[in-house]
């Protein structure tokens, strides 16, 4: 079991996604929530940050937060899985601990 990291800030506004991906171990997971979901969009200045990390880290994004912000699933970087609050709970249960990048 490995850690699951949550990132709740826009990668255009804060450094938390950068820091998370610098320090997340291979085999760990990242869940993008709240304004963090902007990091899941393809074709942005920050997309490469996530794309490059996908070989060793599993990415999830919270669906309700995407919908609120008008981000349709076709805009996402391919390979990021959309999850709900129930899946959020499952992901926390399936990982050894949770680190919130605040």
């Amino acid at each position: 079991m490995s850690l699951i990291h949550t990132v709740n800030k826009s990668p255009f506004d804060r450094n938390t996604l950068d820091s998370c991906l610098r320090l997340a171990a291979k085999g760990s997971s990242v869940l993008l929530i709240e304004d963090g979901v902007y990091g899941a969009i393809k074709g942005t200045e920050k997309s490469d940050l996530v794309t490059n990390a996908m070989s060793s880290i599993a990415f999830y994004v919270l669906g309700p937060d995407l919908q609120a912000r008008g981000v349709s699933s076709d805009k996402l970087i391919s390979g990021i899985k959309i999850v709900g609050y129930g899946d959020f709970v499952d992901l926390v249960a399936q990982h050894s601990a949770t680190q919130a990048w605040l």
Binding site: T6, G84, G86, V89, V92, A100
Partner: protein, 130 residues
Amino acid sequence: MKFGILVNEGPYTHQAADTAYQFALAVINKGHEITRVFFYHDGVNNGTRLTTPPQDDRNIVSRWSEFANTHNIDLVICVAAAQRRGICDSGESKRNGKDTDNIAPGFRISGLGQLIEASILSDRLVVFGD
């Protein structure tokens, strides 16, 4: 599984208070247990009964109170953080020479040890903040 939840931000200003609630609800719906929801930093402001949100908006405070009542959840406000920010129950109010209190139903005020204890007694601790 047992979950501890830490809420670091107040209602309405940051989504943390909403996400924490939706997560807590999902924990219960998944059949897990919540050891404690601990409110720290501006999170203590989730526990004031004096809020009056717009009628077409959710009521974050009463939502917590109902959640605590329905599922018998322990909602703990950090006393030190609460003193800095003006949240008190009747005991704290008297001790600090105040003329009134503002704590909402279902919340109680206690020390930071309750956060550490929750992290030890829970299988997972999840933090929501700014």
